[in-house]
């Protein structure tokens, strides 16, 4: 039989483990329309909820008359804050240490705020009844500008009146939330004062929205007989939702089951807890039957968590020959009506303090002021780890501005300031320890591949041709080099509502040599069922095809903090590898017993233990699995299972080098992306095909944000971009062909060296697209212009530079 044994290479390939471009096992059901999303869940007797929402951005709620709505046949209940107050559920805590109205309690603070919850027999009746609820409002002055908010007498949060201390320290004004400071202010100022060159710029990173294809929703089912609450929902962190639901409702945690079924994209939008979830729970408790709430597209865009909205002012100091000596950053952060940012508790501005980027900057200072305005609450990490897109955009723009100030090439300026390979692990001025990197190699590879020098030459010729009137298009070369910080995070400094940000994996090997592994994370399109099986395949020597991955049901999966901030591979992926190693340790004892040798006399070889020095004597993992269930092995418990709760020692720091070549029609403002090159280093690569897919998706969302996607408000706080006609979601038509590339610098502290990649392309992509637009106008004196670079704003830039005369 041993003669038939495939060779090592073949055995290894059969596992479909690390490095294999295995097809996504999820896609069979998704591409056939057989996914099972929240809105697919239909329970017997289920009712439907819908919100009455405020048309005003700031108003007092004078009265709510439900009579007409309640008279409509099929309407079961209309809930208002008054109804929730006795349960103490008219307000709920936010992830950021603030509280938020579940239903308007006396006033509304943003357009689209939830005012009343109608429960009816079907979705149509609910919508009709919403129109019949009569709400009388008294309009109040609207504040949509955070700088104005910090000056005005208008008090947005009357519930906080007189409170000079918030969840994150002193409040300076009644509309101020917190100041978060990092780094050394005095030394930074000194360096700026003494610097040979200082470049200064203010930039607005506009408000946008993650806009997943599937909107948010939940189905709550309270079984009054056994006292158990089942909650299906679009949750990126189902276990935390269970804990929060228990704390809020008083239902014991073992009596709550939270299920995240298939999720149609999250991108941060599904991290927070929304009034709809709470209302569906309360309505189910009140009515005793299941209640579904699913928001529509406009509700999603106008009320559930936005992203960004940071006003950032930077000062960067350097020597005349371009060595950066210090960085100062101040942010005015518009958080809307409630502080519902989704960040680890101790980080009210997320990891904005990664804003020194990929550069060896000796001293830096960051201060962030959070401010209330009459806009929707949120502040989620849209396809990024907490505020990392903002940080990377900031530094990558500051580098460009400094290059202009120094009259230097921006690629060269980056090169001379990169953290060097031998400086890792690198302590950043703002407090992080970068685990590993080789920036110079990645940068040289990128520049060489795109023929950077050739591009600059062509660009210079184009400028001359433009000046001679021979062309009306300009050419931009967008550069970005980013370092991400993902995989939150060490329990010692990262928690969400007190829950440490570990993650988990529990594995059961079945007697016939297949397995199920359950994790505390939840895929929203990342392909966990595919990649986590691959990690495990390489660890335990069973084919990935024989391993089921399950997530999202709190009754069966081990506790975990969920999926966002590219944390699944760094944290749950590590837990998976560690649990796999526990399986292997036990398997080793079983193999040694079966082979009648000492434990130390066998060694692991791809999918089996072999007797050292006698490779023809072995036991495969399949054989071992069977033995674990059918043999009495002295000193070894039956069965083959393991669980690991992994607390990462550090974050991981993926990085990458991106180049975008763009042609811009000066007369119409239309940009055309000629080339986009993306080199990503995410450490060990688990599934190259999935990585490529993630990079394509992240770049497309980056293109969207840079070139047009925004949540815009008018002066009265009306949302101007509340449908997909105006909220820019690019189609295949607007998207270029992406060229992907990679280097591999494993994380030294992660069990398999993986760093996470799902968000890198978004983080690095936004500044790259933006820099391309801005670079096109550099020869004509542009220093900085704000995103989004839609047609009219690009046109406006050209117009202001006098290019239309």
């Amino acid at each position: 039989m041993n003669d038939m044994t495939p060779d090592r290479e073949e055995r290894s390939a059969n596992l479909k483990g690390l490095g294999c471009s295995r097809k996504r096992v999820e896609d069979a059901r998704f591409t056939q329309g057989k996914g099972n999303y929240v809105d697919d869940i239909k329970l017997p007797g289920m009712l439907h909820g819908d919100f009455v929402r405020s048309p005003y951005a700031h108003a007092r709620v004078v009265s709510i008359n439900k009579d007409a709505a309640l008279e409509l046949p099929g309407v079961v209940a209309v809930l208002t804050a008054e109804d929730l107050a006795p349960l103490n559920l008219h307000w709920m805590p936010t992830l950021a240490g603030d509280k938020q109205m579940v239903l308007a309690d006396g006033k509304v603070l943003f357009q689209g705020q939830e005012v009343a919850f109608v429960v009816a027999k079907d979705r149509y009746i609910a919508a009709d009844a919403v129109e019949l609820v009569e709400v009388e409002y008294e309009e109040l002055p609207v504040i949509v500008d955070p700088f104005e908010a910090l000056k005005t007498d208008v008090v947005l949060r009357e519930d906080l009146a007189g409170q000079t201390e918030g969840a994150h320290g002193p409040r300076k004004h009644h509309n101020h939330i917190f100041t978060w400071e990092q780094g050394d202010e005095a030394t930074t100022n000194q360096v700026l004062d003494d610097a040979e060159v200082v470049a200064e710029e203010t930039m607005y990173y506009h408000r946008t929205h993650p806009c997943p294809l599937e909107t948010c929703g939940s189905v709550a089912s309270m079984d009054k007989v056994n006292g158990k609450l089942t909650l299906y929902g679009t949750f990126q962190a189902p276990h935390v939702v269970r804990t929060v639901a228990s704390l809020l409702s008083g239902i014991e945690e073992h009596n709550i089951r939270v299920v995240s079924p298939d999720i149609g994209g999250g991108f941060g939008n599904k991290v927070g807890v929304y009034p709809g979830y709470v209302c569906s729970i309360v309505a189910s408790i009140v009515t005793g039957v299941p209640v579904k709430w699913v928001e529509d597209r406009m509700e999603n865009l106008m009320s559930t968590a936005f992203a960004r909205d940071y006003w950032m002012t930077g000062k960067i100091a350097a020597t005349k020959d371009g060595k950066i000596t210090g960085l100062h950053c101040h942010v005015t952060a518009d958080h809307g009506g409630f502080d519902a940012c989704a960040d680890p508790t101790k980080f009210p501005a997320g990891f904005m303090n990664i804003c020194t980027g990929s550069y060896d900057i000796p001293v830096a200072y960051l201060a962030v002021d959070g401010v209330y305005t009459n806009k929707a609450p949120g502040g989620v990490s849209y396809r990024c780890s907490f505020r990392v897109t903002e940080a990377v955009y900031f530094i990558e723009r500051m580098i460009e501005v400094l290059a202009i100030e120094l009259n230097m090439d921006a690629a060269e300026l980056r090169r001379i300031n990169f953290i060097k390979k031998d400086q890792f692990p690198y302590q950043s001025a703002l407090g992080w320890e970068y685990d590993s990197g080789d920036y110079h190699t990645a940068w040289e590879k990128a520049l060489k591949t795109v023929d950077y020098e050739g591009l600059r030459k062509e660009q210079a010729e184009r400028v001359e041709a433009f000046k001679r009137g021979e062309t009306r298009t300009l050419m931009g070369v967008g550069l970005s080099f980013f370092t991400e910080i993902v995989g939150a995070g060490p329990v010692k400094n990262c928690d969400i509502l007190g829950m440490g940000m570990f993650d988990s994996c529990e594995i059961r090997i079945h007697p016939t040599g297949s397995a199920i592994a359950r994790l505390g994370t939840i895929s929203q399109g990342q392909g966990h069922a595919t990649t986590f099986a691959q990690i495990l395949a390489s660890e335990i020597g069973l084919s990935a095809d024989s391993i089921t991955i399950e997530e999202g049901d709190t009754d069966t999966a081990p506790y975990g903090l969920g999926t966002y901030g590219s944390r699944s591979t760094p944290v749950a992926g590590a837990a998976t590898a560690m649990a796999g190693r526990k399986i292997r340790a036990k398997a080793q004892m079983i193999a040694a017993y079966l082979l009648e040798v000492h434990d130390d006399d066998v060694e692991w070889d791809i999918d089996r233990f072999v007797v050292k020095g006698a490779p023809e004597r072995f036991k495969t993992m399949k054989e071992i699995a069977y033995a674990a269930y059918n043999q009495a092995i002295p000193g070894v418990e039956p069965g083959l299972e393991a669980v690991s709760y992994y607390d990462p020692p550090n974050m991981t720091y993926p990085f990458g080098a991106y180049v975008c070549v763009m042609d811009i029609d000066v007369d119409t403002g239309v940009p055309e992306i000629r080339r986009f090159y993306a080199l990503d280093d995410c450490g060990t690569r688990i599934n190259p095909m999935i990585i490529e897919g993630q990079v394509h998706g992240g770049l497309t969302e980056a293109l969207a944000v840079a070139l047009g996607q925004e949540i815009a408000y008018d002066d009265l706080g009306n949302v101007k971009t509340g449908t997909l006609m105006d909220f820019f979601l690019p189609t295949a038509w607007e998207v270029p062909n992406y060229e992907t590339d990679h280097t591999v610098t494993p994380s030294p502290h992660h069990p398999i060296g993986a760093k996470g990649v799902g968000e890198s392309p978004h983080v690095g992509g936004v500044p790259c697209f933006s820099n391309a637009v801005q670079d096109a106008f550099r020869a004509f004196g542009l220093r900085h212009t704000n995103m989004p670079h839609d047609h009219w704003r690009i046109w406006q830039t050209a117009n202001r530079l006098g290019l239309h005369d």
Binding site: G708, T721, D726, F728, T731, W795
Partner: protein, 284 residues
């Protein structure tokens, strides 16, 4: 985005459609592809207690070409405009325009009649029909009549069609001319920031006749007679283009929206028109 309740009618005869429209007046609307009407109903911006589906009415689905005379039935879809070989030969500007409307999914459903009847300044067919000097053929309780596309549009969503009339077809003489439909939009599926339909006939190296219509730059499509006049007799040189643009700018009246402010739209309208004229001239 949940519509209010409505009664759904699906008659098979035009007489029944007219009868339903007469009976329910303001409360009834016909539906063609539904890709403008249904979104409005879902937004509850259109309240339609009686929805009359036209898809089972015979005789509205034809594309007929007799010599240069083209008649497009109201229920011809934008997709069919693109795929009709004979039409592409005799009036290729239809195909060029239809390809710039929305995306394939929408074009499978959206119809010529719906696009022309709707009265949304963003629709591309109305400007095109004005450029082609088409006749819009209506039928109603008191019989049939035709209205020139250039006289049809009164204001946004207000047209010469009476509430109880149905648009049955549009007809026009296919121009033996150079043509172009040029459109700037933010993305696939977007309405025009600015669009221009241009036809030009050439005689002895000069413009013999020209027709210019602009889309989404006013609350109605704008056929610019002044722009046409500025081109006739010229060889479409720089000065002629400038004069045509200046004339067109006198006729449009764009408003600010998310696509941009008025100054931008006026500038882009000029650029788009110049490009359309240049292409039509090249093809003439």
């Amino acid at each position: 985005m949940i519509p209010a309740a409505f009664e759904y009618h699906r008659p098979t005869k035009m007489d029944d459609v007219i009868a339903l429209l007469t009976e329910h007046g303001d409360d009834a609307r016909v539906m063609a592809g539904g890709h403008s009407l249904i979104p409005m109903m879902k937004l509850r911006m259109a309240d339609v207690p009686h929805l009359i589906d036209l898809q089972d009415i015979g005789g509205l689905q034809n594309i007929s070409i007799e010599g240069q005379r083209v008649t497009l039935g109201a229920m011809v879809t934008q997709h069919e405009l693109i795929n009709h070989t004979a039409l592409a030969e005799v009036a290729p500007i239809l195909r060029e325009t239809a390809l710039q409307i929305a995306d394939p999914q929408v074009r499978y459903m959206g119809t010529v009649g719906g696009n022309v009847a709707n009265g949304d300044p963003g629709n591309d067919m109305p400007g095109l029909m004005q450029c082609l000097d088409a006749q819009i053929n209506l039928t109603g309780p008191s019989g049939s009549r035709s209205v020139a596309a250039r006289d049809y549009y009164e204001a946004a969503y207000m047209t010469a069609r009476e509430d109880d009339e149905v648009l049955v077809s549009v007809s026009f003489d296919a121009p033996r001319s150079g043509y172009a439909y040029e459109k700037q939009k933010r993305k696939i599926g977007d309405y025009a920031t600015a669009a221009a339909a241009v036809t030009i006939t050439k005689d002895g190296g000069k413009v013999a006749s020209a027709s210019v219509a602009m889309t989404n730059l006013s609350d109605v499509p704008v056929w610019s007679e002044a722009a046409c006049d500025a081109l006739v007799g010229t060889d479409c040189n720089v000065d002629a283009l400038a004069a045509a643009v200046a004339a067109m700018l006198g006729d449009i009246d764009p408003t600010e929206d998310n696509r941009g402010p008025v100054a931008f739209k006026r500038h882009v309208a000029g650029v788009i028109l110049k490009r359309a004229i240049a292409r039509a001239w090249d093809r003439a």
